[in-house]
Symmetry: D3
Subunit: 261 residues, 6 copies
């Protein structure tokens, strides 16, 4: 599924970087290496973020709709909610924050003024927004933070009724995406339904509800996934992926001309 003719930042020489057009959008995928239950590889968030970002950048480049370059994605990010499990490689909050800030600082020297994070891991969202402001304040870059798809616990929709809207990790959508992108790595036969039904007792606190709560994934049981992957299909994954790519391509276009006044 690897795209050719994707404009990659690291394929350039230093003088070529210096010659990038004004308002070029640098796109940085944020993945994760973290347990995703017995049915999905630990690369899941990394794969979805990098594949979607790459495809979106390819679309924009092909259409010439905005100047854009793809940065190497970050595989290791903030997966502290899965710290307890084999397979999780997690950076502490300050390590990831310093990483993002260092990247922003460096891009300033490269003349890049617009930085778009494409995030595949819900656990990065909060810190990523902190980083966006820090980079804006200190280095002047316009910064943007896009989710591959908005996580359910952050206001996004799309979780199935079987999931009671709580397919936040390794559930229907994520499993479908991986059935589309990496079918050989999905072990659907090992998956069941793991929906924290107790959460439905609360009106105000919970995933996608007004009050968030601090959780680690073992709060919900020993299996580490939250959702119902049993009905996932590659077709649904393909649809989700194509929607995400289309939306991200549009985001890149907006990011290139975004202004606040």
């Amino acid at each position: 599924m690897s795209e050719t003719n994707v404009p990659r930042f690291i394929d350039l020489t230093a003088p070529q970087v210096a010659a990038l057009p004004p308002d070029t959008v640098a796109v940085l995928p944020l993945g994760a290496v973290e347990q995703h239950g017995p049915h999905l590889p630990i690369s899941t968030d990394y794969v979805t973020a990098t594949e979607a970002a790459e495809a979106a950048v390819a679309v924009v480049a092909r259409e010439g709709s905005a100047p854009v370059v793809l940065l190497p994605g970050l595989a290791y990010t903030k997966s502290d909610e899965h710290h307890w499990s084999p397979g999780t490689i997690w950076l502490s909050w300050d390590t990831l924050m310093h990483t993002l800030v260092d990247v922003g600082r460096s891009l300033q020297t490269s003349g890049i003024t617009r930085l778009l994070f494409v995030n595949g891991h819900g656990g990065n969202s909060a810190l990523g927004q902190v980083a966006c402001r820090e980079i804006r304040r200190r280095f002047g870059l316009r910064t943007f933070f896009a989710h591959l798809s908005v996580p359910v616990d952050q206001g996004g929709g799309g979780s199935t009724s079987s999931e009671l809207g709580m397919g936040v990790h390794g559930g229907h959508n994520e499993t479908s995406l991986m059935l589309h992108l990496r079918p050989e790595l999905v072990h659907l036969e090992l998956a069941g339904r793991r929906v924290p039904e107790r959460l439905a007792e609360f009106d105000l606190i919970g995933f996608g509800k007004p009050v968030s709560f601090g959780w680690t994934s073992d709060d919900f049981g020993p299996d580490g996934y939250i959702g119902d992957p049993t009905g996932a299909t590659a077709e649904h994954g393909k649809l989700l992926f194509e929607l995400a790519v289309t939306r991200l391509a549009a985001v890149i276009g907006e990011a290139a001309r975004f202004t606040t006044r």
Copy 2:
């Protein structure tokens, strides 16, 4: 507007703290000291957060619906988006993070297992969620993060049509709240309409849109407020406040019995 008979953590002696009932919810208001334009005091977020938290704690205590104590609020928080202005006293992201984590660590020694942040300042939301997870992971507390009202740029509603849904700082609602809570400190005659209309040109990036962006308040102009306070009224503020108190009292009740399985 100060409540009597509010159960305050700091009114207790050490042995009284040790004897608090299981599942007592400790409520920590998060304010801000930051510029709010020419018409609102820099205390705005601190006042609204502490007044609402105090009133909600009083309601719960009066009703006996859950064990609860009120912690001293934090006046100085993460106002880096207003760093450029007189009146703003801001902690850097790591200072605030360490403060919240230190509080969580200390509460563990006090036998407190449930900590609810009541936040009056949108700029604290992202970092507060990072802290909730960190405190959960390291000290085992159940942590909750509630907004006084969900900020517009974080999915909340309620901004007026005049504001195009962008009354994020010093606008209609916040000004109304202060006309209700501290009318003598509001200078409505100095306020105009400051709505970043350019943002309406973008579908995907913006306040309350799927893609967030890193901003400081001087990105929108020299006046530092974003919204249209001109039609604010104390009556509207009273309504908002009472809704917030009622909702927060219910949140406290849920927090006391919240479980994930």
Copy 3:
């Protein structure tokens, strides 16, 4: 005992802050939330510092003797010597240091050039002095560090003979102050005499002696207080409080015109 007409920094708007007169002294009370034995609330240091600072600022403002504003006090400070006890909420040394430095940095943007800490907790004294120099060096503010009353272990007098000069925490003076300021929160009937008589065997090392020593409050026994509160009275507390207020008002006056050459 809350004063009206106290000039509070946070009651101002940003333009009002910018218009403060030159040499305005910003007064920042430093309290603590920490165990004070079975007879005093954990708010003791916070109450005494904030009440005295507020009263002193009110005196200066009423007399017009110097330009002055009161900042919101810090409730959570460096109480690591009481880390072992329920009721103590303590910041680590670097968290508090960064907090104080961040405040100093912010005040520079507000045009404030003089910052006076009014400290109610002996455990803050050393770090507070480190912060005073750091803020002076980096941001150019003139900084001052005043104790509500000079702690016994830092050269202050006033501990009773029953205390052998060692009433450093929850003893005669502090209990008297709270009997004056918050009588309803004092449980004098639970207090005894807790004086570390062994310390009298040492001439050079000890509270108020030339050589200081590193201690935590459980070094002296399980009760957490050090002194003899049994004879404390509200009258004595009133006297101490009024002396402190008078002295602090004079300090503010000096701080406004202080110069080194």
Copy 4:
């Protein structure tokens, strides 16, 4: 040139990670994104490290000579010597150190006991060794640090006589490697000879000499590369690459059975 059947850590599920055989060697490539003169892409060190590590892991896996998995490489590392140039994205020393330590900490939870860094960027060598010891001490992992090829300034040989033994960045060998691995990204026509001949005046201080010195790449001129790429060939690059792969495969074998007593 991408290998199939490479055992990749992130292709596994969490239970599969937990079931990895004892003494599995986890291989972590360390690249860089940094200016490499006008003739080489900024990906050079990342490409060479990841390609060689992947090929070596594939050899070992094919031969079954040792249990091994490949971790996602780090593209952004410590390139502070090229901080001044567009195209360089550099982490500060403490950001990279914390990243490496966080990875080591996480691998402990995964049951991994052997970690091999394969480094393509000389600027990572010193810090990488600090990390190896820190991870050993704190988490008990056996850690190893291998260079793709030992850098000239760290005792390695192979720089051409035209380079006076100083082809440390973008010179004959590195350019040859990239002509082999990514010929379409090499702009040999833009390269000249950039050898710091002045260094030959010193016997004791210099690249590959007993005394090292602190340098940034602009110390040697504005072009940012140090060496003589003009005679580089794909054939020489192929030879270097194959030697590196063979050597790394042997290193992996040793790492799997390494013991100190």
Copy 5:
């Protein structure tokens, strides 16, 4: 003036360290490398602290009055008040704090339970006390902080009337000490009287007064010293030194048997 038969920690082998008697007092001199005006070497505080500590340890060892070892002194400490001047080598507050804490942590492994800082530089006093508590809390060592002589601005006496009690840096006493200890390095002919007479106008704020202030030494003028060294003599220095040694020897004795209950 170097003592023979001083028991030095670093002269021991590891097994000898492990065999030190219980309650051995480890003595750590804290000096400074900082400008001391045109008449004194930048080593002044380091020389006085290390010479006095060494002599006191020698006395105690000779008398057998307590088990004691001398640690290597720290030359570079917290001289941020002299940051502006050539000759000053200063550690930031957190660097010094971490150094002291690391030493305390290490001594715990050596079985040392009593650590005495002998401080020759007033600028270390506050942070040293913070470190004493931190080491006590985290590693259980009994920690003590002694001044060579109590600095004037911290309650010590002995400054001459010509100095108005403000001979805090490079004045009568310090110059006399160096005339005794290192006469060949004193340039008395270059010294004048540098007393900040303006400070006498303030009753509450100042050196040795109840309220401390944050200062750097260039606040008082360009010469960097504060006091009146013109009348300094070696005889007076000898007297001061001998008093300090006698007092420190007694402190070591107390430190070896110090207990809080």
Copy 6:
């Protein structure tokens, strides 16, 4: 063995520092306080580094071959590989790094442009090189890192055949040096042969081999030394010392005139 007429930085006054000639080389010895087995004092690395540096500076000063000053050495450095043993006082990696950077920052204010570390402890080498680059980048100093003798595990030779080239800590050479410099502190009768013969089984990983590994000294056994000191002699030590001094004197000369273009 203490040299007279060594130009010591700390013997100077501040104005004398300011008047040092351009290109003066400041020499900073780096030692260690760490276990060295039962036969050598824990001062070993500190003694050898400071004695050699002092002697070399004396030679250069006597010959007038280059402007040079000797800085006070650091006794406490990065000995984390010996963290487990009594006698070791170790700074963590970041404490030492910040110390070195603070020194570099301070020397810039003194007008020093050339800084040479003379290192007696192999465990400092990697971090020292990181510091050299950081100081070069941030403060512009030319920095140099010289080993007293290049450690065996970093490419140096000279370990005896009995040691199989692995006399890295407390072995033949180090013991000989101490027999020359501090014979009264060497307990040769307690030493045996402690050579990790298992390491000889590995071709690529090991001391002085292409691939380094992370180790702590207890990885090799409980005695803490690695090598064969049994045949050490003062004569061999004298030879090594004189060679080191001669070489370091030449390094100082080169450092004073070193340039990169």
